[in-house]
Symmetry: C2
Subunit: 204 residues, 2 copies
């Protein structure tokens, strides 16, 4: 694609580096910004730069935070004996949106992936173990809420090996099974098989 202006070519190039945005979409976004008020672009550029340069991470759970301790870790009403381990801040937001979880979190910052060169030392695993093993630790249960992909399962396995020697800490995994509203016939065999093996007995 040839562009009539270096400035627009530059902007399109930068936008197209974002995941899921190709050059055609990038051009559409750039032309949209050109048509909109100048303020729109100014506040977008400022919000992005401000976010990138000023954001901090919680010292305890490594989630995104505006302060040294995130709002969830600082909340005394939450159950600090329950730690939900997730790979990403997105998962924290997703679980928070369910409104079903009252414990705290630990964000690994990714999953173990030898192909991408990400080993255990690149993730916040040591700080999780330290957090659970500390003498004054309140942690009684670690919930592994990591996506059941190849890398996610590897990470979960590694974590359970690192944590299993802690006498007072239970390890659990989020339930696998048929999604609510899902059709049995379209479920893959592994999910369906596990959902039968790990069936829930109804209370009488």
């Amino acid at each position: 694609m040839e562009f009539p202006s270096k400035l627009i070519e530059n902007a399109v190039g930068e936008l197209a580096r974002l995941p899921g945005i190709g050059r055609k979409t990038a051009l559409r976004l750039a032309l949209h910004l050109l048509k909109a008020e100048m303020d729109t672009t100014a506040s977008l550029a400022e919000a992005l730069a401000k976010m990138r340069f000023e954001i901090t991470y919680c010292n305890t759970c490594h989630s995104i935070s505006d302060t040294e301790e995130c709002a969830i870790c600082a909340n005394k009403l939450r159950d600090h004996s329950l730690v939900c381990v997730v790979s990403d801040v997105r998962d924290v937001i997703a679980i928070e949106n369910t409104g079903q979880y009252k414990g705290v979190y630990h964000v690994l910052g990714g999953v173990i992936s030898p192909i991408e060169g990400i080993g255990p030392s690149d993730l916040h695993i040591d700080s999780l173990v330290a957090r659970a093993a500390a003498e004054d630790s309140e942690v009684r249960e670690v919930i592994l809420a990591i996506s059941p992909t190849m890398e996610g399962d590897t990470t979960a396995f590694y974590l359970s090996r690192r944590l299993r020697d802690l006498p007072n800490v239970h390890i659990s995994t989020i339930a696998r099974g048929i999604p609510v509203g899902g059709e049995l016939e379209y479920a893959d065999e592994i999910t369906l098989g596990r959902s039968i093996v790990e069936r829930l007995r109804q209370a009488r």
Copy 2:
């Protein structure tokens, strides 16, 4: 959706104002930027702001340009007697990419749309008429290359009425018909009907 940080909430809000980007995609983009180098965000923000504030438009054809006269209008090798009227810079880029057109352009900056409150005076129509009617005008043909939507057809109709009294200027429209590679049975009736009525006779 609740966000763990005001900074990220702000950035997501701004990104989600872009066309075709919802809050989930915006969050994905924001988290991508947070994971990437700081430079990525800095150069994206800078490219967007620079584009918005420094871009200029060609005085003749109103296309995007880095200079007062765009590269196409300044090109003496192009046919300045042929003016292709388009609604948007995107169309200029699309036509240029075909490599089939050697004339110049005129960018209207939109189409007439009473619903959106866009009338002829909001578009670069007067300057097109002035350009074609000028005493020293080179223009011999105006090609209307406007999308055949309701608003586009209205705009084309309005333009042809404004231009029809100019004795030395022919008006033409880009050909409508079955797209190359398209299947006849899937074409809509109007397109198929017009493609038969306005059929091209093969040279013997």
